[in-house]
């Protein structure tokens, strides 16, 4: 990279959607970005090549994945200064039909996987006396959602994790915050549309109707929130939950 090497960011769940948009945004702002997803089907290494970054595919629900990734990144560019905890698993079903395996998979990836990964990045941040942890939660983690209880519970767990980390690590210069998006116009919409038997545009319209601002967030909107929290604007922001979800969490039933 030309000029001063920038600080290192690690983005999980970066193969597509808002993880990918976040990696692109942080790279544009001068970060050296390591990108993670459960496997590299070509998209991760392509993203890494585009951004001058590094692909670190791994299943974060594997307890050994976090330390191994952090060590690999340290050897490449140094300690992780900004962690964006974005990877997530989601399975929708009525609560009574929910399989225990699905419940635990969502908790293992979304909550426990990031718990371990955060443990792995903290020592390097402590040495630097500075670090930013940005946790991608969900509007559903704030207000809940029918047929998504496990997902919502995992995201609510991440919000509590964020607040605890804010209090515990803030005095060490490590600032943890969360973002609670809601409906985002990403590849996931296509999956949702197929599940619902709708066209992509019908799916978009159905979601728009649920959003007070009548607009889906773009992945870039959420990446902007990450960049704000990672940058100088985030210097006094600790343990907060940003909610760029168009007012979804403002609505009353």
């Amino acid at each position: 990279m030309p000029g001063q090497p920038g600080p290192v960011a690690l983005v999980t769940g970066a193969a597509q959607g808002l993880g990918q948009a976040t990696a692109l945004r942080l790279a544009a702002e001068g970060y050296r970005v390591a990108v993670n997803d459960i496997t590299d089907d070509g998209r991760l290494s392509e993203l890494a090549a585009r951004t001058g970054g590094m692909a670190v595919p791994a299943d974060i629900s594997d307890p050994s994945a976090g330390p191994a990734m952090v060590a690999e990144i340290a050897g490449w560019a140094g300690p992780v200064a900004v962690l964006v905890a974005n990877a997530a698993a989601m399975a929708m079903s009525p609560f009574l039909d929910a399989e225990p395996d699905d419940w635990w998979h969502q908790i293992d990836v979304n909550l426990s996987g990031h718990f371990r990964l955060i443990q792995a990045v903290i020592p390097g941040m402590r040495v630097a006396g500075h670090g930013r942890i940005v946790i991608i939660a969900s509007g559903w983690g704030v207000i809940g959602h029918p047929n998504a209880t496990a997902y919502a519970a995992s995201k609510a767990g991440l919000i509590a994790l964020t607040k605890g980390l804010g209090r515990e690590l803030g005095p060490q210069g490590i600032l943890a915050n969360a973002i609670a998006p809601s409906y985002i116009d990403t590849e996931q919409l296509r999956v949702d549309a197929e599940d619902a038997g709708l066209s992509l545009e019908e799916m978009r319209q159905q979601y728009r109707d649920l959003i007070p601002v009548r607009r889906l967030a773009s992945a870039a909107d959420i990446a902007g929130a990450v960049a704000f929290l990672a940058g100088p604007g985030g210097n006094a922001v600790i343990g907060q939950v940003l909610q760029p979800n168009g007012g979804v969490t403002r609505t009353r039933a």
Partner: protein
Amino acid sequence: MTSDAAPTAFITGAASGIGAACAALLRGHGWHTAGVDLNPSDTDLVVLVDVTDRTGVAAAADAAVREFGQIDLAVSAAGYYEEGIDVAEITRAQWDRMLAVILGGTIHAAAAVLPHMLRRGQGAIVAISSELALAGSATDLHYVAAKGAVLGFVKSLALEVAETGIRVNAVAPGPTDTPLLARDSLWRKPEYLATLPLGRLVTPGEVAHAVHYLAVEGSMYCGEVLSPNAGAVI
């Protein structure tokens, strides 16, 4: 960005503290600024008016539109602070003045810019509230009540205009290093600062960053409260 295409900010309380920091940051990003204050502000258009004067604030917004063509952002930062008063000792005059300046001033600023923003179908309104309104606070109850009322106003107006491109949000700073905090303020005491996860006061510039972010990238925030508060309220 050419000067003709520069966005315009309308800022109350622009002469000092958070309002002044917003004006400085926005000007640094190439914005035109109109500053409403009792005192002269370092802005492109200086309007000396009391924010409790609804007509005066409306005239100021009209002047800003005449001068710059539009208003892209309104920041309601005008306010003052009184602490160390038990609730039973707050006089009627103190209540009335506090509500008139902080809540009334915010309503007047929003009402002044809304017609212009509605005409274009876009704009951002950011009201400066306080983390005290999120958690409550003793011995400054009239200030906290006024800042809390601002949050109710913001959330409701945000929903009212949600289907337009106008976004209404609040920034609720923690204790901020401005002239509003007296030298002997409780919030400046080392024992208090040591309780904050950040261990220090928020700077006016940090609050301005939050305002700027909402103005330029805040299109998905609708009635939200962004709180750069040093960890005072989590």
